[in-house]
């Protein structure tokens, strides 16, 4: 391949593969996949770069020198947490309130599973130490911080070999002065230790969520920060001109230098990059309304974009731990190619949520798993062909797949192998449908007006079928479905979110107080963006308010398009409330609960390339594929992805074999290749 400088590189480190996507100045996109190296993920990153350089026929320093932007989605924070390998953390809390971290507000994921233990508390009680001192709800001091308490705590922390400290004092969202004072006292006694202030990483109201976020930050920091700094150093030594950027949970990027104080922002680093991908495909698909399903081996991530805005949340749960950080809202279900199917002890067919993982993988991999998976069912139904895939990384054995389905599903249920396999797929696709409905209907959106994006290695096999069941007429399959997030990274803006808790009656709010607070946030944001290289005009600042009717618990975020116009704000709040909750309270008191500011440094949009035209494609094969109950086996044309070029239109049923995925279109569907080479499926009626 011949690259046109400069280019961008995105690297997504997954559990099995490290994906590298490179887009050059002409918009040509190249994908490189290498095995991940869990012991030292940086090695996988460098290997991927080496492989990409080799593909491009250049030396690694040359590749690095021509790179204008390098973005990384790193699971290092997530893995540190999930594997329990974080730092030994000490915590300072307001005296009398040592235990909110361990009480966790009593929130458990499955109410019925009352025997399940909580994940281990990250700071044991003997390292959660009380500090006398109290602010009231407005941040006024009732009692000063006790320096003596801090000193006593510092002695314990030193004695116990604590590696990082988190502070969470009551009402610090209203005024951080007590946390600041305690931290400065602490520094006098233990120099050089990383200290996280809850008012800094998550200035939200609610001592549990704020404290938990501070603890997570302190817990992952000492593992994540040196790793990322080291990787950055190595890349710079290899010739990278700018600091490495990282994808944060909010879907925006941040430089390595600036994430050092807030590594907790990286907890959803990988999947959040999907936003960048949706923004990219807005240009090619010509719509701003998407529901995306990114389906891999074990799970499916569903996200939603309406009118160009992606659904966001203020809180995420990772491995049972709460983090109050702005994040892309992603609904994950256990449904993927490796999802295990079977029959329960009382004779009911199931598919998931358990998966076979990459190892041993589906039965047809021949690596010792005898339980049938979704991939085995696809193989039996002719939708996948037997033989080598992914350059020989796996080899699908039809006989093993048939045997697994025969013994574990078909025979126990008295079905033919085909019916059993088709049943597994139908059950899985119904789960996917329900996940998409939950993401949309639960939030007040009608999914039928959305384009369903089918991504991930396994997504394009289910996209058209799920869109049909959903009543959506359009399924969009990116050509690079298997590198969805890595591609998204190349199209990610630099972004930081800022928050100030502030209570006021919308109609009677003191405008100058609001303005002062927004101005303070803007100063903070301006300094941060300046440091990221987006000074002055180059940074876009977006103000929003969190609003609710008096007495409600949940707020709705309304962006301030122009100045502070209570009437206009009320109208937009009512529209949103009506859409989400089906009613409004005309004249109801609306309460402001927080001011938010998003600072966005727009990275130049990744422009899609226009692949050259090609003669009408001919099927590379025809094989019997089980379509559905009504049609049964149908002799179906199989196309090679490389033969499909813009303006091609093909009537289903058909199969397209791409390098990293297989696309299915059913009878009645029409697959068109759009100007940028992606697959646009017009879905036939059910």
């Amino acid at each position: 391949m011949q690259l046109q400088a400069p280019w961008r590189i995105g690297v997504d480190v997954g559990g099995t593969f490290t994906d590298l996507v490179l887009a050059d100045a002409a918009g040509a996109v190249h994908v490189t996949k290498v095995p991940s190296t869990p012991a030292d993920p940086a090695e996988g990153v460098v290997n991927a770069l080496g492989a990409a350089a080799k593909q491009a026929g250049m030396a690694l320093p040359e590749l690095m020198a021509g790179t204008s932007l390098m973005i990384h989605g790193s699971t290092v924070a997530t893995n540190t947490l999930l594997e329990g390998k974080g730092a030994k953390v000490g915590m300072l809390t307001t005296a009398g309130f040592r235990d909110s971290l361990e009480i966790r507000r009593g929130i458990r994921e499955d109410q019925w599973d009352h025997r399940a233990p909580f994940p281990p508390v990250l700071v044991p009680r003997y390292l959660r130490l009380p500090v006398t001192g109290r602010l009231d709800r407005n941040g006024n001091e009732l009692e000063p911080v006790s320096g003596r308490d801090v000193e006593a705590a510092a002695a314990v922390f030193k004695d116990e070999g604590v590696e990082a400290v988190a502070l969470c004092l009551l009402h610090s969202y209203a005024d951080p002065k007590h946390e600041v004072a305690a931290a400065s006292a602490l520094r006098q006694h233990m120099n050089g230790l990383p200290i996280t202030l809850s008012s800094d990483v998550a200035p939200v109201i609610g001592e549990y969520e704020r404290g938990s976020t501070a603890v997570l930050n302190a817990y992952v920091g000492p593992r994540v920060v040196p790793y990322l700094a080291g990787l950055n150093r190595k890349l710079r030594q290899l010739g990278l001109r700018h600091s490495l950027l990282l994808v944060q949970s909010n879907g925006g990027a941040v430089s390595v230098d600036h994430v050092q104080d807030r590594p907790v922002q990286l907890l959803l680093s990988g999947p959040a990059a999907g936003v960048g991908a949706l923004n990219y495909y807005r240009q090619t698909a010509g719509t701003d309304d998407f529901v995306s399903m990114e389906i891999g081996g074990t799970s499916c991530d569903v996200a939603l974009m309406s009118k160009g805005d992606v659904a966001v949340t203020d809180q995420i749960l990772v491995g049972g731990y709460h983090a109050a950080i702005p994040a892309i809202e992603i609904h994950t279900v256990g449904a993927g190619g490796g999802t295990i199917a079977g029959v329960d002890g009382a004779g009911m067919l199931f598919a998931g949520p358990r998966g076979a993982g990459a190892v041993p993988g589906p039965a047809c991999y021949g690596r010792g798993n005898a339980e049938p998976t979704v991939t085995d069912a696809q193989l039996v139904l002719g939708r996948l062909r037997p033989g080598p895939y992914a350059g020989g990384a796996v080899n699908l054995d039809d006989g093993l797949a048939r045997e697994a389905i025969e013994t574990k599903v078909a025979r126990p249920l008295g079905l033919t192998i085909e019916r059993a396999a088709a049943g597994i797929i139908r059950l899985l696709e119904q789960n996917l449908l329900h996940a998409v409905e939950r993401m949309s209907i639960e939030r007040g959106y009608d999914p039928r007006r959305f384009t369903l994006v089918a991504a991930g290695g396994a997504g394009p096999m289910h996209g058209a079928a799920v869109a049909r069941a959903l009543g959506s007429r359009r399924c969009y399959v990116p050509r690079l479905a298997g590198a969805f997030c890595a591609l998204g990274m190349l199209n990610t803006d630099v972004r930081q979110d800022f928050l100030r808790v502030h209570f006021a009656d919308l109609d009677r709010a003191d405008r100058s107080a609001l303005e002062d607070r927004f101005a303070a946030l803007e100063r903070e944001a301006g300094a941060a963006m300046d440091a990221e290289g987006f000074g002055g005009e180059r940074a876009r600042l977006v103000r929003s308010l969190d609003l609710r009717y008096l007495g409600q618990q949940y707020a709705i975020r309304i962006e301030l398009a122009s100045g502070f116009e209570p009437m206009a704000i009320r109208r937009r709040f009512e529209e949103e409330h009506d859409r989400m909750f089906g009613h409004i309270q005309p004249q109801g008191t609306i309460e402001v609960t927080a001011l938010r500011l998003a600072a966005i440094g727009a990275v130049e949009r990744l422009r899609p390339a226009a692949p050259p035209a090609a003669p009408p494609p001919r099927p590379v094969a025809r094989r019997p594929v089980w379509q559905d109950e009504a049609s049964g086996w149908v002799e179906t044309p199989v196309f090679a992805g490389a033969d499909l070029a813009p303006s091609h239109r093909l009537a289903g049923p058909l199969v397209v074999e791409e390098l990293t995925t297989t696309v299915l279109a059913g009878p009645g569907d029409t697959l068109a290749v759009d100007a940028s080479g992606n697959f646009d499926i017009a879905v036939g009626a059910a």
């Binding site: 009593g106 009352h114 004779g347 067919l349 209907i441 618990q553 009613h583």
Partner: protein
């Protein structure tokens, strides 16, 4: 009947659960009262044409068994007069299959091709239904008439037309008609969505097949639970639990249960349970069935199907006139908490005898009171002191949770943030942290409960609902001990000290509440607790050094509480030879 397609059966089971959840989303999104979108005190369910509950994927545990009662009451009251477009409403526990008066049921029959094809239903706790106290809980009630409006089975909507006269009757009987209006409409809306989806499902399958699929789903659940029962040895197992008051005075009321497990299934027999009481903790039959189902389901796998097929093998004997099946006009609003809690405890104790490896120790009973007064904005506030919630009991392999929501919701009620409470109410909370030595002793100890202190900065009406005060309530199993009893007192600004009653009403000026919430029960002998766990508890300050030595036989020494292995072995030896 031809055999069902097993794939269609699996798809339908999941799809019905999805429909029930979808009804829940609509309810959460459209209801007016915070109790629905914050505390989820409602359940959406689907019943077959004969009134058997086929899915209740969305809902709180103590609603588990009530649904069928309501639908069967409708079928009885309106036999031959149920039509497309009708919507029914009911609440009465004596005549209409209700569980207690505040929970209103909206049920919408589903018709396909002119045939009754099921019911889409929603049971939800209303904000106010009249009666002797605002907010549905009248602790002074001695008759059901003191507890609010009683509704037999009513046709609220007749062939699509809302009965406006009836609607007005409902509204004038509530102190919060605006909330009631909004919430009822949300309930009606959620059943419409549910009914549409159920109709589509049955139409696609064909009516005959659709009804056969219901039966297939119930039969599968029946097999699942029989398989679960088969893991217990046949026999007769007894259990009991009690309350020490009738809401007015100290008076023990004991719930006695005998479980008999044989080839026919499980017989749950409450013969010998004490008579109904004066106060409002008497249980309705629907609530008793729910509590039994909840106790059974929570003892086995958490993913047992939530439909009535699961309990086909269970037969319940509930003597009339006893506290678990009271005769009218006994009051019963409190029963979904107490005596439901005691019923669950009694059954768990009996099950523990059948299989000690899955025993559950008891959860503490609630003590949280309610204060109400005028805020600085002149508006009335009602503050539930949920930060004083109790602890859970131990289970094999895990200590009890140190603070957790109500047992009858299996903990599904969230503990508020102190900061949020201080923003909402004129209060300054001074303490919210674990008790020392509050947890029941055991190899796995009970949850500790919490110490809770809060200043009420204005004059308030105080409502006490402290079932867990003054007597230990979280029982221990298999050698484990009771969790500590709850305590509560009030100190007024003038220095008056009042010991809180279990039930009652009072008014005080600015005052401070001091509470120690009840601990959970322990499991197994405390001498079998790993010494390292005892050491951790002592370091954490949740078990005292004295208790470690005296109760756990673990001797710790030095500033880091190192285990003195020899002294510990000697102490533990002593106890076992005693």
């Amino acid at each position: 009947m031809t055999a069902l397609d097993p794939v269609q059966l699996a798809l339908t089971q999941k799809r019905l659960d999805h429909i029930a959840r979808q009804m829940g989303w609509v309810m959460t999104r459209t209801a007016r009262s915070p109790i629905f979108n914050q505390s989820h005190d409602f359940s959406c369910f689907i019943a077959s044409p004969d009134g058997t509950l086929v899915s209740q994927a969305d809902g709180i545990p103590i609603h588990t068994g009530g649904g069928g009662f309501s639908v069967r009451a409708i079928l009885k009251a309106f036999a031959g007069r149920i039509e497309d477009g009708d919507v029914f409403l009911l609440n009465d526990p004596y005549v209409a299959g209700g569980n207690h008066l505040p929970d209103w049921v909206i049920a919408r029959p589903v018709f396909v091709e002119g045939r009754l094809a099921g019911f889409a239903c929603n049971r939800a706790h209303q904000s106010d239904i009249g009666g002797g106290a605002a907010g549905t809980y009248n602790s002074a009630a001695t008759e059901i008439f003191h507890e609010g409006i009683r509704l037999p089975v009513l046709k609220l909507i007749e062939r699509g037309a809302l009965r406006d006269d009836l609607w007005q009757l409902l509204m004038i009987n509530s102190r919060t008609p605006e909330l009631l209006d909004g919430d009822l409409r949300a309930m009606i809306g959620s059943t419409r969505i549910g009914a549409d989806r159920i109709a589509a499902l049955v139409r696609e399958a064909g009516v005959e097949t659709g009804l056969a699929l219901y039966e297939g789903i119930l039969a599968h659940a029946d097999r699942r639970f029989r398989a679960a029962l088969a893991t217990l040895p046949p026999g007769r197992y007894e259990g009991s639990d009690m309350t020490d008051n009738d809401c007015f005075e100290k008076k023990d009321t004991v719930i006695r249960v005998a479980l008999t497990l044989d080839d026919n299934g499980l017989h749950v027999d409450f013969t010998g349970t004490d008579p109904q009481m004066r106060g409002f903790k008497n249980s309705s039959l629907a609530n008793t069935y729910s509590a039994v189902y909840m106790a059974l389901a929570s003892f086995f796998e958490p993913d047992l199907p939530r439909n009535e097929g699961t309990f086909r093998s269970v037969r319940i004997t509930a003597p009339e006139g006893s506290v678990i099946n009271a005769r009218p006009p006994a009051p019963m609003t409190m029963c979904t908490v107490f005596v439901a809690h005691e019923i669950v405890h009694a059954i768990w104790k009996a099950l523990a005898k059948a299989d000690p490896t899955r025993a559950c120790a008891g959860w503490g009973k609630t003590i949280h009171n309610i204060t109400s007064g005028l805020g600085s904005d002149g508006q009335r506030f009602v503050m539930y002191h949920w930060n004083a919630m109790m602890a859970g009991g131990a289970v094999p392999g895990r200590d009890g949770l140190n603070q957790i929501g109500l047992l009858i919701a299996l903990g599904g009620l969230v503990v508020p943030n102190v900061e949020v409470y201080e923003q909402l109410y004129p209060t300054l909370i001074r303490r919210h942290e674990f008790r020392t030595d509050g947890g029941g002793l055991g190899e796995f100890r009970g949850g500790t409960g919490v110490e809770y202190e809060a200043d009420m900065q204005v004059a308030c009406d105080w409502t006490f609902r402290g079932e867990g005060l003054g007597y230990p309530t979280g029982y221990g199993v298999a050698g484990g001990g009771f969790g500590a009893a709850g305590r509560m007192s009030v100190e007024t600004a003038e220095g008056r000290h009042i010991e809180a009653p279990q039930y009652g009403l009072a008014q005080f000026g600015p005052a401070t509440i001091h509470a120690s919430s009840p601990g959970g029960g322990g499991l197994g002998h405390p001498f079998d607790r790993a010494a390292e766990f005892v050491r951790r508890d002592v370091r954490d300050g949740v078990v005292s050094l004295e208790s470690a030595r005296r109760d756990y036989g673990v001797v710790l020494a030095g500033p880091r509480f190192e285990i003195d292995a020899q002294a510990t072995a000697a102490a533990r030896q002593q106890r076992s030879s005693a």
